[in-house]
């Protein structure tokens, strides 16, 4: 019964398996080559290195910092709780820095203000000094008498001209957070409560596996503690989303992954009633191994999303052994090698068609799809090789006596189909089906948003919004990137941009922005100030009149003019520069670069317009770009898929002829169309992920059509084979539909729908007159 080649095959395969295992071991030598950075998976709008660096800089605080508002109707109680929690958090060891009071280093502030008197003067004040020096002097005299002018950090005797006071007053003001003078905390009043700000910076970032969970636990504990004193906590941080994502993913993967595996194993046991049939899982494991090794070999690492979506390959990989295991209903007695021989052509065809289907996706400009395609194609190859080379040897000597009821169910199903076809002819059914499709497609709308990639729990986003409302800080993901040849040009370009942005603020299209030119002016402007100062002695009589000695003024003037020009690096070293520091990207390959961060945008398109004709200025709007690219990818993926169908037709012409090939390919396409229509009827949007799911289904369901057309062992046996295959696939894919991540659940839903329709339509694949079939029947 066993051919010599069949004795050799298992050994060859084992050698290959060992080689791949060795490769895998080498790949994992420094720990898992896994990546969790979502940005790696999204399409390459190919941001250049600088843009990437800028983005990382903007995201860093979001991944490491947590902002908490501690709220109580009584301010003192809120402050007390903020202090208690702050001390606890500090002691927790999770945070590098916990801040609830303002620690201002007054001497350093004074030094910076004094040193920056020429460089930090705002544009308005500079203009006044240059164009109306007499008014400048008058205002200074007025300020000296003004009881409401406030306290200046620098005493008058160190700055008779009041430049530091002007700089102090011109610092951009944002938000509605106030300093509580008594406690030194920052407080915002809203909703009848005082909210004390507590800020914590973690030791690691949100991509550390354990940290987010620990932080979330600590916060939860603090919430309970605060609630006992009727204090409310509001928190916002990327870490909290990360913690939520981890908890949810672990939960879902346990249920979905475990459920699928247990389900498939149970199904195998129920159908074949032999423990050794569980060996059919070997190709699944081998497939996973091959997929992972290929992915790491090609991309250097594997993304967890690939793993999650790609691991649903279980259901497809198990189909190969099922192909010949299910022959046990017709082959009596069933032996592994002969059964394989009978189904080998079908298996091989199915590998080729699925492979083509998957690989087509590799050519989309979408790293996520490319990775999943490579993973799946390599995985299928591995599963196929082990199903052909190893499994029959493992199953040798097993006598399968499968349960008969599944076969009877399938016979009954086929009977129902016959009865239906007697009543209604196929063309009429087709017409009905097409009407269903048209109706559904008309209601289908497309939706693509990066937000679908993440399941954002409502309570977290609500809290973040409340915090934004209370504090008045509404940072946005968009920012401007400014490139220039040198610092002078950079600041000039920023000044040009600032003028445009000020207009937007005037129109209330923008709440505010932060730009280096608010901190330090161009070298030229500094020189202008220096020159303007030298004209002051002729005009400072009013200062002399109130008793300021002339020699004192002269000495100050000399000192001022001797102040060195302040460049960006110097300006950024002082305590006032803290919020500006992340904006400076420093020297680049062809000059220097900096960012301008934005607050409270309501129209990104308007912003893009503002920056468009300014040289060296680009608006970086990753989210907007991504959403556009998603839509484009959706179209190109569909095109590629159609191209792959043409290729599959070409492959299938050989065994089935042109008509047969066309019929086999048109069934999955029709099934996909029906699923699309169902999405429309169900009111579900078409997303990139649902489309991707459907593309997968077409690749898989070509198999079913081939299986049904081959009809090895009769229509009922083939239908049973298809049913088993569809069930196992559904167990691994369909369960994803319960995921609370919109992308994953969309994917699961469309695969589920596609599988149902593929199974229903498969019997229409026709019947191929086959030598083996004839021989089998004769037997």
């Amino acid at each position: 019964m066993t051919l010599p080649s069949e004795r050799l095959l298992p050994r060859l395969f084992l050698i290959l398996l060992l080689a791949v295992l060795a490769l895998a071991g080498w790949q994992w030598r420094d720990g898992a080559p896994l990546s969790a950075n979502l940005m790696e998976l999204v399409p390459g709008t190919a941001p250049d290195a600088l843009e990437l660096r800028a983005e990382q800089r903007m995201q860093e605080p979001l991944n490491r910092e947590m902002l908490v508002l501690v709220g109580h109707a009584d301010r003192q109680q809120a402050v007390a709780m903020a202090q208690t929690l702050g001390e606890q958090w500090q002691a927790s060891g999770l945070f590098e820095k916990v801040q609830w009071t303002l620690q201002a280093d007054l001497p350093a502030l004074r030094t910076q203000l004094l040193q920056g008197r020429l460089a930090m003067l705002s544009a308005v004040d500079r203009q006044l000094l240059i164009e109306h020096p007499d008014t400048f002097i008058q205002q200074r005299v007025q300020a000296l008498f003004d009881p409401f002018n406030g306290y200046s950090l620098v005493p008058s005797q160190d700055d008779w001209l009041g430049l530091t006071g002007r700089i102090q007053n011109s610092q951009p003001q944002r938000g509605s957070v106030q300093l509580d003078i008594g406690s030194g905390t920052l407080v915002a009043d809203a909703d009848g409560k005082s909210w004390v700000l507590l800020r914590a910076r973690t030791t690691g970032n949100a991509f550390d596996m354990n940290l987010p969970l620990q932080v979330a636990d600590l916060l939860e504990h603090s919430r309970e503690q605060a609630a006992q004193h009727e204090v409310q906590l509001l928190a916002a941080s990327g870490l909290l989303y990360a913690a939520h994502g981890q908890q949810q993913a672990a939960r879902e993967m346990t249920w979905v992954g475990g459920g699928a595996t247990v389900g498939i194993l149970l199904l195998l046991l129920l159908a074949f009633r032999r423990w050794r049939v569980l060996l059919a899982f070997v190709p699944v494991l081998v497939g996973m191994l091959f997929g992972a090794v290929a992915c790491v070999a090609l991309f250097g690492h594997m993304h967890v999303m690939t793993l999650v979506l790609g691991s649903s390959l279980i259901g497809v990989a198990v189909d190969y052994p099922l192909h010949y295991l299910s022959k046990s209903w017709s082959l009596k007695p069933w032996h592994s090698w002969p059964a394989l021989r009978l189904t080998l052509p079908g298996l091989t065809l199915s590998l080729i068609t699925s492979g083509i289907g998957y690989l087509a996706l590799a050519w989309t400009p979408f790293p996520a799809l490319t990775q999943i395609a490579v993973f799946s194609a390599a995985g299928l190859l591995g599963a196929y090789l082990s199903a052909v080379g190893l499994l029959p040897a493992l199953l040798k000597g097993v006598e399968l006596r499968p349960a008969q009821w599944p076969l009877r169910v399938c016979e009954h199903l086929l009977g129902c189909r016959e009865a239906l076809l007697n009543q209604v002819k196929t063309p009429v059914l087709l017409a009905l089906l097409i009407a269903f499709c048209v109706g559904g497609l008309l209601q289908l709308n497309s939706k693509n948003d990066i937000r679908q990639w993440i399941s954002a729990p409502q309570n977290l986003t609500d809290e973040a919004r409340t915090i934004a409302r209370i504090t008045g800080y509404q940072p946005t993901s968009q920012f401007f990137l400014i490139r220039a040849a040198n610092q002078q040009q950079l600041l000039e370009r920023q000044t040009a941009l600032s003028e445009r942005l000020d207009q937007l603020i005037g129109l209330e299209k923008l709440q505010g922005y932060l730009s280096l030119n608010q901190l330090v002016s161009t070298p030229n402007a500094q020189q202008q100030v220096r020159e303007a100062l030298s004209r002051l002695p002729a005009l400072w009589q009013p200062l002399l009149d109130i008793g300021v000695p002339a020699e004192t003024l002269q000495a100050e003037l000399t000192k001022l003019q001797a102040l060195p020009a302040v460049d960006i690096d110097a300006a950024l070293s002082g305590p006032l520069a803290e919020p500006y520091r992340p904006l400076w990207l420093g020297p680049t390959e062809d000059g220097v670069a900096a960012m301008v961060s934005l607050q409270g945008i309501n129209n990104p398109a308007l912003l893009r317009l503002q920056g468009e004709d300014l040289p060296g200025v680009t608006l970086v709007d990753r989210l907007g770009e991504l959403n556009t690219v998603f839509a484009a990818t959706q179209i190109s993926a569909a095109e590629l898929k159609l191209a792959s169908c043409v290729l599959i037709v070409l492959v299938l012409i050989l065994p089935f002829g042109f008509g047969g090939a066309l019929r086999i390919v048109s069934l999955p396409l029709l099934a996909a169309l029906c699923s699309l229509a169902s999405l429309g009827w169900l009111g579900q949007p078409l997303t990139l992920f649902s489309l991707f799911g459907l593309l997968l289904v077409t690749a898989i369901s070509v198999d079913y059509a081939i299986l049904m057309r081959e009809q090895v062992g009769g229509a009922a046996v083939s239908l049973l084979g298809t049913l088993l295959a569809a069930l196992t696939t559904w167990l691994s894919f369909g369960l994803l539909a319960v995921s609370s991540t919109p992308a994953v659940s969309n994917f699961g839903l469309s695969v589920s729908l596609g599988l149902v329709f593929s199974f229903l339509l498969a019997p229409w694949a026709g019947r191929q007159v086959h030598e083996s079939t004839a021989a089998e029947r004769a037997a």
Binding site: Q99, Q171, A236, A249, I314, E578
Partner: protein, 234 residues
């Protein structure tokens, strides 16, 4: 799903970006803003009002005594003693403090400038219109305190200052020493003297400068004139 890795924080940062949360930059800038515009008026307002200090019998009496008049008119002399000047910067003018409205501070010499503090914020008269001073809008700390003071709520003042009172109802002296580290870096102490009404306020700054406000000929007999009412109403 052999690989049951918990899906790590896919896109945590991205989501954070999406959800628009941020920590803001709460740094010395907030501090600067505060000192630039808020402290002096705060203290100033507090002093003119003297809140219901319910912590000792004497203070209680004093606060009741000062809370009585509806409207106070008076003259002021402000002396700013700067370390580097031998002569203080002296300015003079008149003021009107109205219990339910706010304060008008009318500087006459050496230059003329009118100020107004109300619940809405601090304004300066520019020609004939009142111009709100930027950064001193409604909701700001000093207004909160000022209002609290006018309404006889002392919690803010007592929290921020150590108060000590000496003398009797017709000749008293109140000393305020800042409690918080922040205020200590700015003020050494504040001395207030008075009789039926406040007579002088002295602010001693940490860096050696000081301001002396003397309020003379204060009277509570005169109601608000039409012009003054108009100024408050605007």
């Amino acid at each position: 799903m052999m690989f049951c890795h918990p899906r790590p924080p896919v896109g945590a940062s991205l989501l954070a970006m999406v959800a628009n949360d941020d920590t803001g930059h709460l740094t010395p800038r907030g501090f600067l803003r505060f000192f630039a515009s808020k402290l002096a008026p705060t203290v100033f307002c507090v002093l003119l009002g003297i809140p219901g200090l319910a912590h000792a019998f004497d203070l209680q009496q004093l606060s009741e005594q000062l809370a009585k008049p509806e409207v106070i008119h008076g003259n002021f002399i402000q002396e700013k003693h700067l370390r580097a000047l031998s002569q203080p910067l002296t300015s003079k003018g008149t003021f009107v403090l109205a219990k339910n409205h706010g304060l008008l501070w009318l500087l006459k010499t050496p230059l003329q400038q009118d100020y107004r503090i109300t619940a809405k914020g601090i304004a300066r008269r520019d020609g004939i219109v009142w111009q709100m001073l930027p950064g001193k809008s409604a909701g700001a700390e000093q207004n909160r305190l000022f209002l609290a003071v006018l309404q006889g709520d002392s919690s803010g003042l007592q929290r921020d200052f150590e108060l000590s009172l000496s003398g009797d109802a017709q000749n008293w002296k109140l000393t305020l020493v800042p409690r918080s580290m922040l205020l200590k870096q700015v003020f050494n102490q504040i001395n207030i003297t008075g009789a039926a009404l406040v007579q002088s306020i002295e602010l001693l700054e940490t860096q050696g400068d000081s301001t002396l406000l003397r309020m003379q000929d204060s009277t509570s007999a005169q109601p608000l004139s039409d012009a003054e009412q108009h100024d408050f109403a605007e």
